[in-house]
Symmetry: D2
Subunit: 409 residues, 4 copies
């Protein structure tokens, strides 16, 4: 349990903070306003990326603050999961910051999949432009017609037909599908129904302009489209892709998914912790600024206890996440299942609670778009479902716990 | 403590339920979709009311299900606060239903103010078209620059100038301001700064087309504009209205506000209870429909406990609200302060919690616009701030409680 | 839903309060101290009832404040469940008060059983001295070897042998078994294993001096013996009683138990509400008395919010319980199952929480024996298990809720 | 943030676990029963230490598992705060285990005070027999007449009179005062009322047989005397001790107290974490053993979620405490104030909650003395008050947090 950030990690963190202070925070409000202006309508075909974000991406890349999540020394910056964790926390403080550093979900997870499981040609075709930030990708797994919390419910199919794979099915909550740069999906479907439960599915790379692939709509998530990313519903009707687009092999989908999940959850959770820190900061500042009944609001009633509760919850959540990252780095995802599931439950709930407290301290301003609080609160709410609902992860934590006592049985 | 619904109330409830079953539920989804299509953009000037709603209003009026909230026998249906409560609950089950029966906030509160405190001409000019559902009104009280939880912070001013009143100030969270039919505001401002705390303010009727009155923008509340109603920010710069527009008298604002609050909170809370019942219903239905790990989701893990917790919380919240209504009817608002403040804290929190549980049971669908859950959750969140934050109401409950022990002191 | 206390109930409440003020509160501390002195040791055979309690019983009986729980006009005071509820609340404010008015569990439940289900001779032999407060009784149902939350687990047996019934089994949590006046048990056991689930058990009256009946020990409940009542473990080895001691008939145990439960839970819950009111009162008084950091403790930090939360929770719990009582009175136990189960979950949890808050406000004194708070907290904790754990009652509430949606299925 | 246990710590932990498995767990129940038999009465003058405990102390000392808490290489085992932490956790699993290893509060804190602040003679006279486990000590700080959460309320006095110090005052919650081996108190009182707030008090060593020192009674804590330790109330009336008994100097009391607090809180919290782990273990085992409604209880309803919640809460609490220990070791108590206050709030609450869940899973057995659960629950409850109530520690956490934003102000 050595969570000390390495000198390398510390150096990157210092540079990242400097960049955020110099270039991001000063125009955060401007960008959010511009994004709202450009994209606050239901027609995702017209969504655009604010020019400032494209500009910041360019600057971040030039500053070497790019692909920080990727452990590879050449393609990324060679940072381990634990080394990257504080960087993800810092990025989490501004909703659109991860994209600036090419570190946003789901592209990070997709790049990891391609990096670890893609063959040379797949990497060349898709990983390279993703690492360059030129295109964006989506991950098509969740389905509308079934309880996706039980992955064996998946109904989409992948069938071999000569040198082609034929894909059918409906997916939703395909995040990023509305983005103007989105070009490719990693699609998961039932490939080998005859196999045992965890060897029935495959993952396939599908260009979004494939014939038979239709984007049906974008979904609102807690009343917002999250434009220009969006959460899409897409239908695949006899979509045909070359067999070369298959990742690893038929029936290997779960194995790939498993490897993808660990670091991804660290990233999600550290960003959520950064968001919670931001909420706490805003909560305190607001509490000092406003006066009611003759005192700064922060001094009234239970507000000081709430500050303490937020601090204690955030600190615990961070330690739990760093511990999970350290275990992933040292013993691997398979031996860190309790830790990885635990953070997936704990951290979004902490963010939901802290952002709720911060909203309350802001009064009406808290639920408005003038502060990032309502957005963080919605992100937390969605995160409690994305990538498995709380209940499924608690089930995993419990199962491992009970197994300690069933060994002899 | 006799909460038995009167025969009259029961009869109205039966008719209301029949109307809802016949005319509203069957097209709820259609109306929400249409409303989204018409109004899901930031430009409130283009917002429109779905034709179906206008049509349903007409039908409801013809069916005599109209102005049910108003205790007057001729202008309303002569129902007491307790008699109206179950009707408000029923209406709360569908987000747009209150408008259909001309029972939606803030118009109900404004009509009550005009009914109780307006003079003959004020009633004729404003109450009549409001009761007819021809125009809509707003209530301009909360201000952006100060902590409005402390009403004495109010900075807007009302100054007499000959036969005119001159109004200045900025207001926000002026709900309904974006509605195409919104024609008039009840505006509260500092009229007599020299008086003691509760005699410093006045309320004035202000037509929205007054010179000097500018609608600056609509605010999102939990990421949504609540179109076509909206929550507006408006600025008054030397707006001049005839003295005839003054309600009751200079310095009488708080007294009016106080009278307005009691029934309004019952309405809000009963609607929230209806919404919570709806969430519980949807939660159970969804839990039966979806299967995971070989069982209907409703049977898994802690889900059954959550159903029980929702039922127990809702039943308590309803009894607390009926009790408050009964006290308002029997001993008056001034002797029901604990009850009125208590429901304002308890009920929105119950709705927030129950809708959160229902969302979780729905998986991704729960945060989408395909179900009314995310909307109810946002409404609960906003309601915890609207009309005084939880903390202010808990302060009131505590103050009354402590006073019981300080009498002798 | 008419919870108005009847004039009769109000009159009794006034007299009861007068009695408590005049005779009980002034010597509460003295009695608790004396009880501690007499009985604070593990040897239950030496437990004695403080003389003051015997004296107060006499006074209460003479004052006609006696057997108030029994709806019978001659044997009790003819009060309905709803009429008795506020009296139970008042008694609950002092731990030993119910005994003074011959209204303490488990005797009340046992007297109800004998009243409703006993034959003439059973009433003469056992009900009469119980109503006179001359003897005490116990209820032997829970067993140590199985999960008694599932009543079908019961292992004790009742076998007919000629004109005798032969009883075997071990019971525990037999409350009151250590009391010097305890003379008789109502014993539940498996009589008809061949029957369907709810017709397998019987209830039998067993004198505690029966041969083969051995009291093995008293259990501590949250570290206290609850002397001189106690919670006993008793073993029955071929205990033989005449068939005349059978209540109603073989296989009728569940039916009797069901009838016993409803009013008993109202009593438990109303007493718990009284205890919670007492905790809140003590909490506020203490909070005013003590000064820290220059202010009365009650004014510090979140303490005022806690007062409000306690008030709101208690008021809701009371309304829920009154509603359950009203339903028992008007439509009967069988149609009030949600209500009866709900209060059994809600009310003890409210008392546990409010007493915990009151303890915290008292500092170290709160966990000491100088205040009744630790006792109330322990009583709440035990009550969450007694008569079915929270989880079983939530299961009942959920089952009824789900059934509303399964009718057509 | 390097919480890796050192090889030395790991070796001690292995030996400690072996000792616990071999000598303590097998007779835990026997010792608790014997202790109950010997000491379950209110007369603390007759309390005795079970022979088995004295025997185990001897064995532990011979095994070199002795004074593990003391960082000194010769007097203790030279373990840092972080190195000792897992040992404290292991000891916390059995209520009486800390005494076996001479690592129980308040002796550990007192020994630390004497070790760090005692002069040669004080060490010889008092530290040596304490380290040898021959005598026991108490810490007399809390007072009954005032809110001790505000230390400046302290009313006991220390006055110089020639070569003597004259002590007056009443103290309570003086833990260990009932123990047959208790010989000495460290007494804190007002010595320099003229000084600024934190230089007004002194600490003095007072033999318990001093003239004028009277033990008035033992208090129950959550209904139990915690015999043979006890929590005493003692009165000092003109108690005279030589000036040599003064620790450090007049007015130095707060400085000493501050130094004492840090490690002591780590110890308390790690023991509480051990207790929580034990509760979780017992909860799962019980849940597997008992069957209800056709399933092991552990598989019913929300029980599996509760197991997960317990695991997640404990893991977070442990990481938070290890982090605090690591900060104490590396930057010192003064720079670890947030961490030290945070664990004091978080950990006892986690134990209170986890033990409550474990109790519920045990049914009636859970609140009985047959399992250590009720004891752990009570210990948690008391710990939320001991050494500062939750609210005071949250106040500290908040104050530090707010100060981050007030620097420039």
């Amino acid at each position: 349990m050595n969570f000390d950030p390495s000198p390398n990690s510390q150096a990157y963190l210092a540079r990242l903070k400097t960049f955020m202070q110099a270039h991001v925070y000063p125009i955060e409000k401007e960008i959010l306003t511009e994004n709202h202006r450009l994209n606050y309508h239901g027609d995702w075909r017209r969504w655009r990326v604010p020019a400032q974000i494209r500009q910041l991406k360019q600057q971040a890349r030039e500053a070497g603050l790019w692909n920080l999540f990727l452990p590879d020394n050449e393609l990324g910056q060679g940072l381990s999961c634990l080394e990257y964790a504080p960087l993800a926390e810092e990025m989490g403080k501004v909703s659109f910051a991860p994209e600036i550093f090419n570190c946003n979900a789901p592209d990070t997870g997709n790049m990891e999949v391609l990096y670890h499981f893609g063959d040379k040609k797949q990497k060349q075709t898709w990983l390279e432009p993703l690492l360059a930030g030129e295109i964006r990708s989506v991950f098509a797994m969740t389905e509308p017609g079934v309880a996706s919390s039980d992955a064996t419910n998946m109904q989409a199919t992948i069938i071999e037909e000569g040198r082609k794979l034929v894909l059918n099915g409906t997916k939703w909550w395909t995040t990023g599908l509305g983005h103007p740069d989105a070009k490719v999906a990693i699609f998961m479907g039932l490939s080998n129904p005859e196999n045992e439960k965890h060897a029935r599915h495959a993952m396939v790379i599908v260009p979004l302009d494939s014939e038979g692939l239709e984007i049906k709509r974008m979904l609102t998530a807690c009343q917002d489209y999250d434009a220009p990313y969006g959460h899409g519903e897409l239908q695949l009707t006899n979509v045909k892709v070359p067999k070369d687009n298959l990742l690893v092999g038929m029936g290997k989908g779960f194995a790939i998914a498993q490897g993808r999940l660990g670091p991804g959850r660290i990233h999600h959770c550290m960003r959520a912790i950064g968001a919670a820190e931001r909420c706490l900061e805003l909560m305190i500042k607001r509490g000092f600024e406003r006066v009611a009944f003759g005192k700064p609001v922060i001094k009234l009633g239970g507000n000081q206890e709430r500050v303490a509760k937020a601090r204690m919850a955030i600190d615990q959540a961070r330690l739990l996440t760093l511990n999970a990252a350290w275990k992933i780095d040292t013993v691997g995802v398979k031996h860190a299942m309790t830790e990885i599931s635990a953070i997936k439950v704990v951290v979004p709930n902490v963010l939901q609670e802290v952002s709720d407290m911060a909203i309350q301290m802001h009064g009406g301003a808290g639920v408005s778009g003038d502060f990032p609080l309502a957005g963080f609160n919605a992100a937390a709410r969605v995160l409690r479902l994305a990538d498995g609902p709380d209940e499924v992860h608690m089930g995993m934590v419990c199962r491992i716990e009970l197994a300690k006592y069933q060994k002899g049985a």
